[in-house]
Amino acid sequence: MAAVAGSARRGEIRQFWRTFSRNQLAMCGGAVVAVLVFLAVTAPLLAPWDPNRPDTKKILTPPSSSHWFGTDPLGRDVLSRVLYGSRISLSVGFVSVGIAAAIGMLMGAAAGYYGGMVDNVVMRMVDLMLVFPRFFLLLAVLAFLKPSIWTIMTVIGLTGWMGVARLVRAEFLTLREREFVIWSESVGAGAPRIIFRHILPNAIAPILVAMTLGIPAAILTEAGLSFLGLGVQPPYATWGNILNDGRDYIEIAWWLTLYPGLAILITVLSYNLMGEGIRDALDPRLRQSRLGRIVRLGR
């Protein structure tokens, strides 16, 4: 049984790769994402200056050979800050989406597997959460909590699990009636085992798409929050707060706006292209269920 399942999976993966690699845009996106992750990880080695050290003699100097991206209002090197900022932006993206997915999977699994009352409660909670405009909810919560990177990650995660929950629930509803589940139940396998070993792996594909597309949304949200001043505390750089720092000097210090904005743009764009490519490559699977419709596109 397991062996058959294993080789079927391998075949799927090969099929997936074949479709995905034909999509040039998605491949580009994926390559850029890889580069970005690399840059983020090696930032401490690559950054030419201490990103947090002010130098009041170099306030707002334009790009030059010693400061490729210029300096900020406190004289700090923008290139170094953008590099370090990528670490925060990317980790916020990954972690918050991870949290959202974890919560979503649990909720969706519970709803889909147990059905009945549990399903009702979970779906009401989904509806409840969906009714709040996301940004407003974030503002409200963040204004009350101590601002830190963990708060932001958690809060973005806590407000973004609904899509995954629905996906997982839908998958459960479809798969629950399948033979191997009935077989497992009759053999006496417990609920968690069934959920984790049989059903979830089948749901992975659309969840992955949702996660990949959720990362750029999370990055944009973090940038927006930092821009409003609700992000990580100074002096730590994130792309959003470099933009915020430069917001008042935009016409004399274009470099403060251009580079972090471009960084956000390129990152989000690449993730989106890659995510779309993944989704298109999974298309044959999606055709069978209506999961495609449920994958959230929201900001």
Binding site: P54, K57, I59, G229, P234, P235, Y249
Partner: protein
């Protein structure tokens, strides 16, 4: 002589209304538009001002936000005001006398004043204002001055007699506040429903401008009061546009959508307003503002109870670097809480100029050494010296100060975290319950040097202003003496001594007094900088007929 009465107690630190200059230095006009081609004073035109927050209401006695006080200052008037040299001069009162024991104050009121609805103004309104302010049902934030009054009465319709229990140095100043109309507000004050009265949406005052309209969130429009007792102001309309973002206000300025900004930031002044088109369209001014920025210690924290630690921090900080980095040089180092150039000021006090070596020495004396070579100082139990600097969100200057100071303290071995907290939460969660270590804040210097509420040991409660928790019996005695005397030569001695002690004790590190950097549209003539700023003669500003931009009449 004619001028605009300013309310001297607003303490929000970006007020730039008053400043006093040392004899040598007057305000400078920074651009070269042509004053000669002016044209005679003419009535007309509209003056557009940006306001970052919407007004909280139209009875400024009940509000504490700056916008409503600016607007209120135009609509209402007080018995006295400040002239360009920061002297107290008559406004609605023609004259006043102070008894020699400083307990009785008598005002003689002008007889030619009318409320905007035509009703005559007299002493009853003044008595009523006092009663309204001290009424417990009135939610007014600034009652203090009135609570010290023993009694007020009006022996005749144009005389007001105020009696104090104890001499109160700021007595006359108190009566510069907004006088409220008895005939319109009496019943509301009695019921405690002032906020819901029509006065709060259609105010009637005695000031140089009358209320015309308020579109909440958008604008407030005032029109000149033709019956103003000092003569109708030249500018026919004043409009406050609500623009909630500093960036947008500045952009609007550049796009010529506003005529006045009360202060630019250092970078805006020095780097962003130097191009020819701007200099042709606007005049920039510069004069010392009336506040100081400081880093406050929480004296309850045992580490800061040791004076050497505080002084070490002062040595570690380079004030000039802060001025250069944060204000681009447009500020002066501060040595104490009293406004430079005023009669009570002295700079002959202890100084702690930038010297990291001395800082380390002092800290070592106090028991802080780097015992494990990790670059951070520890005490004898090995606990590292880490502090958190807190300040409020939305204030770019304070944020930069925190970042620069963080770096400097790092160099002497102190690990610093920064927290920027939204204002309301900051005050409630950290400042009031004294749950902070270091804060970056500002305070106004006001016109009277009385510092009682900030430094007296009785003012350390959660809702009071002695935030550092400073308690020094000698200073207490001096504060009390200074407050209850009305003889300037006596008070000078007290305040000099207070400044000496504070500079030595350092409950806070006084960083700098910044310069106000206002900008006024070039077509507006009559602007003339003085020790009190530029707004003192607002009623005399005019736009020559040929240059009027918004014709309204």
């Amino acid at each position: 002589m004619p001028g605009r009465r300013v309310r001297a107690r607003a303490v929000l630190t970006w007020i730039a209304g008053l400043g006093l200059l040392a004899a040598a230095c007057n305000g400078q006009i920074e651009s070269g538009a042509d004053e000669a081609s002016a044209g005679p004073p003419a009535y007309g035109d509209t003056f557009i001002q940006a306001s970052i927050g919407d007004i909280g209401g139209l009875i400024p006695s009940l509000t504490s936000d700056q916008s409503s006080h600016e607007v209120g200052g135009m609509i209402y008037d007080g018995l006295v005001k400040l002239d360009k040299d920061l002297n107290m001069v008559p406004a609605m009162a023609e004259s006043w006398t102070y008894s020699t024991d400083c307990l009785d104050l008598t005002f003689r009121l002008r007889r030619d004043i009318k409320w905007h609805d035509g009703y005559p103004f007299n002493a009853d309104d003044v008595v009523f204002t006092y009663q309204a302010m001290v009424n417990p049902k009135t939610p007014a934030p600034f009652k203090e001055g009135f609570l010290l009054v023993k009694s007020v009465d009006a022996p005749d319709p144009y005389t007001v007699h105020v009696h104090y229990d104890k001499p109160y140095a700021r007595a006359v100043e108190t009566w510069g506040t907004y006088i409220l109309p008895k005939h319109l507000l009496q019943s509301f004050v009695d019921a405690g429903t002032m906020r819901e009265s029509p006065q709060n949406s259609q105010p009637v005052g005695t000031g140089p401008y009358r209320f015309q309209e308020w579109k909440p969130g958008e604008k407030v429009v005032l029109v000149a009061n033709p019956d103003y007792y000092e003569g109708r102001p030249y500018l026919s309309r004043v409009v406050y546009r609500v623009i909630p973002s500093q960036a947008t206000i500045f952009l609007e300025l550049k796009a010529k959508g506003v005529d006045y900004v009360s202060t630019l930031t250092g970078i805006q002044y020095a780097r962003q307003t130097e191009y020819p088109a701007f200099r042709k369209a606007y005049h920039k001014f510069r004069y010392p503002a009336s506040d100081y920025t400081f880093i406050g210690f929480n004296l309850k924290d045992p580490r800061f109870a040791d004076r050497r630690v505080r002084q070490a921090f002062a040595y570690a900080i380079n004030k000039q670097e802060l001025i250069d980095g944060v204000r681009l040089g447009l500020a002066r180092e501060a040595t104490g809480p009293i406004r430079p150039g005023t009669w009570a000021y002295t700079d002959k006090v202890a100084r702690f100029d930038f010297d990291p070596t001395k800082a380390r020495e002092l800290l070592a004396e106090a028991g802080w050494k780097d015992r494990d070579g990790d670059g951070v100082l520890e005490d004898k139990d090995g606990k590292p010296f880490t502090v958190t600097i807190r300040t409020n969100q939305g204030n770019d200057e304070r944020k930069k100060i925190a970042e620069i100071v963080q770096q400097r303290l790092k160099e002497i071995g102190i690990k610093v975290d920064i927290q920027l907290i939204e204002w309301a939460a900051f005050i409630k969660e950290f400042v009031k319950p004294r749950r902070f270590e270091l804060v970056v804040l500002g305070l106004g210097t006001g016109t009277d040097p009385d510092q009682f509420v900030v430094w007296h040991s009785s003012q350390r409660g959660p809702d009071q202003m002695n935030r550092t928790g400073y308690a020094n019996p000698e200073v207490d005695a001096l504060l009390e003496a200074g407050r209850s005397s009305c003889v300037q030569s006596e008070r000078v001695r007290y305040y000099h001594r207070i400044q000496e002690i504070l500079a030595e004790d350092l409950p806070m590190i006084f960083l700098y007094n910044r310069d106000a950097l206002p900008v006024v549209a070039a077509r507006i003539h009559g602007v003339s900088p003085s020790p009190s700023g530029i707004l003192y003669n607002f009623n005399e500003w005019y736009v020559p007929k040929a240059q009027q931009r918004y014709t309204s009449g």
